[in-house]
């Protein structure tokens, strides 16, 4: 696992000013072919599909 020292100031992060939050900008890449499937998921973009699978688990 990278130490944060390894990637601060590297690549895309090289010139980003401090004290600000940065969300990666989405590129218009893939869209679901099956729009009904996309509707049930809640987005037409597979890259934004982040389902919830958490369970407390007994014992």
């Amino acid at each position: 696992m990278m130490d944060y020292q390894d990637y601060a100031g590297v690549g895309a992060w090289k010139n980003r000013p401090l004290a600000m939050a940065y969300v990666e900008i989405q590129r218009f890449d893939k869209v679901y072919d099956d729009l009904e499937k996309a509707y049930r998921i809640g987005t037409i973009f597979p890259d934004l599909n982040k389902p919830f699978n958490g369970r407390r688990c007994e014992g």
């Binding site: 000013p17 600000m20 940065y22 969300v23 900008i25 049930r40 809640g42 987005t43 934004l48 919830f52």
Partner: protein, 204 residues
């Protein structure tokens, strides 16, 4: 201004009443991180936005949240409309019923009524967008918590849809924040409030 289409953004068809679920899900109607707060937040913040594209985004997401508010109310309505007096008494729903019968009233699951303290409209683009990103995460976590409690597919389907929309909105607000910072001086994003200060102090 607003127009209305007489349909839900995503279908809700719940066959079995469930007062316990209704009491939980009501938090997404009038609770601190619910859809009423979301829509009022974005629709209130948009007026002070210095950048037209961001005011536009807030209007569009705020409008979508009103459609979500309608879905959440529909879920609660369908979970409660056929309850027997026995079920009302047994489930603890009687505390809500005595004041509202089966009317939908904006409150959190714990009973706190919806109020403007649930959101802020600070009049600063970076601050407001940061608030909005946090709001979408809070809403997503609330939906995560609800999903742990439900097994009924009729209820899961619209809840999963609503949850995914929060993630998409987070992405859009994040992109809006990038748009805003792109218009500001990267040496100091906080030198002035672009929505308020007409000029910068040259000696600052």
């Amino acid at each position: 201004m607003w127009n209305y289409e007489k349909r839900l953004q995503f279908p809700v068809n719940i066959k079995e009443p469930n007062a316990k679920l209704a009491q939980i899900i009501i938090s997404q109607y009038g609770g601190p991180d619910g859809e009423m707060g979301a829509s009022m937040r974005y629709l209130s913040q948009r007026y002070a936005m210095p950048y037209r594209e961001i005011g536009g985004l807030l209007t569009d997401i705020g409008t979508e949240e009103l459609a979500h508010l309608e879905m959440v109310a529909t879920i609660i309505h369908q979970l409660t409309r056929n309850l027997s007096m026995e079920e009302i008494g047994r489930s603890g729903f009687d505390k809500y019923y005595v004041d509202h019968t089966l009317g939908i009233w904006p409150q959190a699951a714990g009973g706190v009524p919806f109020n403007a303290c649930e959101f802020q409209s600070k009049g600063d683009v970076i601050t407001d967008l940061s608030e909005d990103m946090a709001a979408e995460q809070k809403a997503r976590t609330t939906y995560d918590n609800i999903l742990r409690l439900i097994k009924e597919p009729d209820v899961c389907e619209p809840i999963k849809f609503l949850r995914e929309r929060e993630i998409v909105h987070y992405q859009r607000f994040g992109e809006a924040l990038r748009m805003a910072t792109d218009k500001l001086n990267e040496k100091n994003f906080y030198a002035f409030n672009p929505g308020f200060d007409k000029c910068e102090n040259a000696n600052g």
